[in-house]
């Protein structure tokens, strides 16, 4: 690897807390929950009744901004990704279409498409069998937001097309680790000189009928009838499972001198990254957090920052018993020789679990923590699980110096990713 530095010059978000970065950040610091009763009209009998949805007015704003994409596809994941990409580029000071962008890449973590039951029901025979021949001859009737029309890679390539980003372009589909893996691969691509700028992050939405039963079938969804705003409670004894969110988070990762030459504002520096695999069970993390521990340790080694140098961890923090405990154990092992553990908080308590996209907004919050020395709280942590005994910044934000921070993402199946963000100090050669 070269000694090129990679800095964060732009951030863009679309979450249940809003469409503007500052709005998201202030609400996160204030501990505002984005979780509400599901608006999807057809979901009345769904066992899952709450999610962190992008509010209707915000969604309409996005559709107005990208009318042809809203009209032709209407897939929420793609629209969120386009919005966050646009905001991140603008935040970084780039115009929608400007300079030569042959060395600008796009890396996106993207989730499942939308599985529409109508795509089966419409082509049933009178004997209730699926008629593939008739289906084949009527493909124009396939639902416009259906997975059949929309590849996972569609958002990333659409972003490239919309903003004329002609460098490397890839989509990672590694469940909940996807966005952080995308950010990590983008960081390395800029660091080794494959690109000068990467727009990276994640986007997802599974708030649709099949998506709502997805995690119920797997036994990991929060189905309690508790007040929606109090439903997502990572590390709390009363937690009952993951609460879905939707949206996108994108970051502009830029080579330091490229950023300085154009006078860009720098939030922070990306200092390291690692990925590991549990190689344990498909349906559960390693109970001792083996893969997660290794991942954080390797990311620290990559960043050349000792554990004592880490002041904050944006946890994966899903509000599931298995993850919360395994992650806590892993953090304790990584930092066992430190005089105190770093502060830990879970963005999912605020914006829900954006699944494949979750690492996007969480990276943005991590970068802001490093830049502003403020840590958003883990909300709803009123009766901590005794086995989860770290400092999770319960309910109230905290001001403290954050020299460097980790952002963790652990995917279903056992894929782990950790990215390290640290304060930026201009090095020799910086103007």
């Amino acid at each position: 690897m070269t000694d090129r530095k990679v800095v964060i010059t732009g951030l863009g978000l679309a979450t249940a807390l809003g469409l503007e970065l500052e709005q998201n950040w202030q609400k996160a610091l204030a501990g505002v929950s984005g979780v509400s009763k599901i608006r999807l009209q057809c979901a009345g009998k769904s066992r899952v009744q709450a999610a962190a949805q992008v509010c209707e007015n915000d969604y309409r704003s996005i559709c107005r901004d990208f009318p042809s994409e809203a009209q032709s596809g209407g897939e929420r994941r793609t629209l969120f990704a386009l919005w966050a990409a646009k905001k991140a580029l603008s935040d970084a000071g780039f115009t929608p279409c400007g300079e030569d962008r042959s060395r600008f890449g796009v890396a996106l973590g993207a989730g499942l498409g939308v599985n529409r039951l109508e795509d089966i029901a419409r082509w049933l025979t009178s004997g209730k069998k699926f008629d593939p021949a008739r289906f084949a001859s009527e493909l124009d009737l396939v639902e416009r937001d259906s997975i059949i029309r929309n590849n996972s890679s569609a958002p990333a390539t659409l972003i490239a097309s919309k903003f004329v980003l002609k460098g490397a372009n890839f989509t990672i589909t590694s469940a909940c680790a996807s966005a952080t893996l995308a950010l990590g691969a983008a960081y390395r691509a800029v660091k080794r000189g494959q690109a000068d700028v990467f727009l990276a992050g994640g986007a997802d939405s599974m708030i649709n009928p099949v998506g709502l039963v997805f995690f119920v079938l797997l036994g990991s969804a929060a189905v309690s009838r508790m007040d929606p705003e109090r439903l997502c409670r990572p590390f709390d004894r009363k937690r009952s499972g993951l609460v879905m969110g939707e949206g996108a988070g994108m970051a502009v990762l830029e080579e330091e001198h490229h950023a300085l030459a154009r006078g860009a504002r720098i939030y922070a520096e990306v200092a390291g990254f690692a990925s590991t695999m549990d190689a344990w069970r498909l349906t559960a993390p390693h109970p001792e957090g083996r893969g997660a521990k290794e991942c954080m340790s390797l990311a620290l080694a990559d960043s050349k920052i000792a554990p004592e140098g880490i002041d904050y961890i944006n946890a994966h923090g899903t509000s599931t018993k298995l993850n919360d405990l395994a992650e806590t154990i892993a953090i304790k092992k990584v930092f066992e020789n430190c005089t105190s553990y770093p502060a830990v908080s879970s963005s999912k308590s605020l914006i829900g679990h954006l699944l494949a996209g979750s690492g996007g907004p969480e990276f943005a919050f991590t970068a802001l923590s490093v830049a502003q020395n403020r840590i958003h709280p883990t909300i709803n942590l009123s009766s901590p699980d005794p086995k989860c005994d770290l400092d999770y910044v319960p309910d109230v934000s905290r001001q403290r110096v954050v020299r460097a921070a980790l952002s963790n993402s652990f995917g279903f199946g056992g894929q782990n990713a950790t990215i390290v963000v640290k304060k930026y100090f201009a090095g020799p050669g910086a103007r």
Binding site: G44, A136, V142, I147, K166, L218, T276, G413
Partner: protein
Amino acid sequence: MKTAGLPLFPVASDQVAITGLGAVCSLGNSLPEIVSSFLAGKSGAAEITGFDASGFGCLAAPVKNLAPFKTDISSQLALTMGKHLALLMSSVGEALRSASIGQGMFAPGDCAFFAGMGMVDYHVEDLLPAVVKSLHPDAGIDYDSFFLRGSQEIYPLWPLGMLNNVAFCQASIHFGLAGENAVFCPHADSGVRAVYEAACALREGRAKMALAGGIGEEITPLGLARAKLKNLLVPPPGNVAPPPFLGEAGAMLVLEPLSTAVERGAHIYARISGFGFSCERSEDGRFASTQAISSAMRAALSDAGISPEDIDLVMLATSHENELEAVLNLFDTGALPPVIVAASAAVGETLAAGPALSCALALSMPDRARLPEIFLAPSRKGASRDFTIGRLLLNGISCEGGCGAMIFEGANGP
């Protein structure tokens, strides 16, 4: 696109060797079978028999008679995960065997794993009982019925089959791969990205062995529908080649630092010498632009420090005219142009599996093989010649604009 930047790899870093190959596709369930069928000029294209595909009006190239594999998951879960898992297990297994890598030879954390994975689709029969229980008396779906009754007809672990990283994770568990990893998706460019990331992990010292490659898509009504809607099955203009068809496939490469591979006496199939990437859609939005394809290839050549004249063999990713045009423009060098092979004419559009499959096929061919004319690019018909693999360039192109190119030097090359 890399035109004026640093090399994709630091110049002084270690070289990466390919020491193992594994593949499965419609031409056979192991590389020797595939190579033999390919050189005999056979095509895997056939009528689709698994369901009534008459409405699609196309052929397909399915993988048949795949041997069962051992796994510690239930047979129902394995079935739910479909052919993705079977193709992955088969190609990883063969690649490790061909590299003579046994269990315990590398620590799990030293084994990186990167794959391009095609889209996973539900099997209609997995959701059909739920749909039938949820039908609205007039038309469409009654979602109250779906949530109350229909959803209970779905196998609880069905969601695992819908995550296209799950087969990948199961293979990691089975083969003990716990190092760096990622799943890219879903077209041929993702297969190139997987090899690139694996090569970087080795060069930059984060792994001692890496598996990289890709798995295509299963031939299902939904997969065929997507291919049609994405214009993947449109015949090239002027009928210069047969219409494209989808092909099932999986292919994996074992990568190791050249120095340690030599040290342990591994067979070296090739060295990896360059990569290039770009992205741009053509004006009609239906494929990568000719310019983007050309840029990726030029970047790979620059990364490898060689010229178009140095390439002996080009493996096309697709049968699309934009790719052929970009290749012919770049390699219109007079002297002795490279042989241009369109493996998709034999195995179909294998998407994420394509790059590793092309690589495995090319590197497994016997010395001085004579390639069948029917698999040569249209304008290269009649140009067949006995050849020995020297330098190989192969593409991975997405209909959505993503382009990747990589260059290998065969063990018998310069």
